[in-house]
Symmetry: C2
Subunit: 218 residues, 2 copies
């Protein structure tokens, strides 16, 4: 069974419309919150019918989750992917943290960190949006913690350091920068986060051990 050119073109058109809806939804939600998303408002602004929008997202909750997913893809493209060539461990950890800060500094979303804002909004509203957010946050922290553990196994970081504690502190510094920048327009916020990260990592960084040097040569 093959699709006719007409079907393919219609599917493409549908994908383009979905993309436009989600781009606007991300911009609105980053400034006013996911709760402010309205299928009616989005339809009006994009000159689409309300029923057309409903065809893409059956409910407000579906739209909210699709918007979160779209924001997660932006995060992936801006923070995770550019670091993907870095060797795992300390180098990747540093690259991920720096990309995260640079992404907040660049105000990729007009309302700053999409996930921090959505988390403050939904942390007390049980349901799929909240679960989705918590899962994303857990996955990000797990990814950072894995890099800390790889760095410890490779002898780049002190093995006695508590990886979970370190990730908690590193993530805290980045989130605080977003907060201080957004609310207080603090011009030092991002540099303070960078300085804190440098300090925390250098406090438990180790010189390359002989085992590692040997491995690198082989």
């Amino acid at each position: 069974m093959s699709s006719s050119p007409k079907t393919v073109s219609r599917a493409k058109q549908g994908e383009g419309t979905r993309r436009r809806i989600l781009d606007l939804a991300m911009a609105v939600a980053s400034k006013q919150g996911l709760g402010a998303l309205s299928i009616g408002d989005l339809a009006k602004k994009l000159c689409l019918s309300k029923s057309g929008l409903f065809a893409h997202f059956g409910s407000k909750e579906e739209l909210q989750i699709a918007t979160l997913e779209a924001a997660a893809q932006v995060f992936e493209a801006r923070v995770v992917k550019p670091a993907s060539d870095a060797p795992t461990g300390l180098t990747l950890l540093r690259a991920l943290l720096e990309n995260h800060i640079a992404y907040l500094e660049a105000s990729v979303f007009p309302g700053g960190c999409f996930f921090s804002a959505a988390s403050a909004e939904f942390d007390d509203q049980p349901g799929r949006v909240r679960d989705h957010l918590a899962e994303r946050m857990r996955a990000w922290r797990d990814y950072l913690r894995r890099q800390v553990q790889i760095a410890q196994e490779a002898g780049e970081l002190d093995r006695s350091a508590d990886a979970g504690q370190l990730v908690f502190e590193l993530d805290a510094l980045v989130r605080e920068a977003n907060f201080a920048h957004r609310l207080m327009r603090d011009p030092n916020a991002f540099e303070q986060a960078r300085a804190g990260i440098r300090q925390r990592l250098s406090a438990i960084a180790k010189q390359r051990g002989p085992a590692l040097a040997k491995k690198a040569r082989s």
Copy 2:
């Protein structure tokens, strides 16, 4: 000129009503955000007339600011006041941070940290609510920074440490605990914040110098 007993009693009644309105407004706003406050809804829940509520708060913005002020008084009573007997400097700094964590841990507001939630909500909405929030946050950080500086002058903390950087990091740890606890129900969040604070302060703490010991004896 003296007030009649009738006037005094009416003023007292008005004060009581205002208090009831603000208590409910804080509970609603801490879970659903300041934007969700509605004079109509509050009036209904408290069995008051809408015009009666308008007599206390002329607009939604006035109500939002009065709610913030009420929340600030709770913070003052739970975090700042219980530490007021502590000697200024390192002891007061530690007491303020511990009280802040204990206050979040106790979930004084059903929705967690009132100011973090309100900040995420209003950081992109220019106006009096946002200005008020930013001012409160600045004042809190200034108060902490003053204690760091006193501690440095007294030789309790290393004078070469950057007080602004330290306060940024300490505040980050407390805010991250609130975030991790609210969104991810992380049972270690508060202990991780405490451990981070202990580590940061002990890294720049100094043994009591002879000058201070002499002062303490006199």
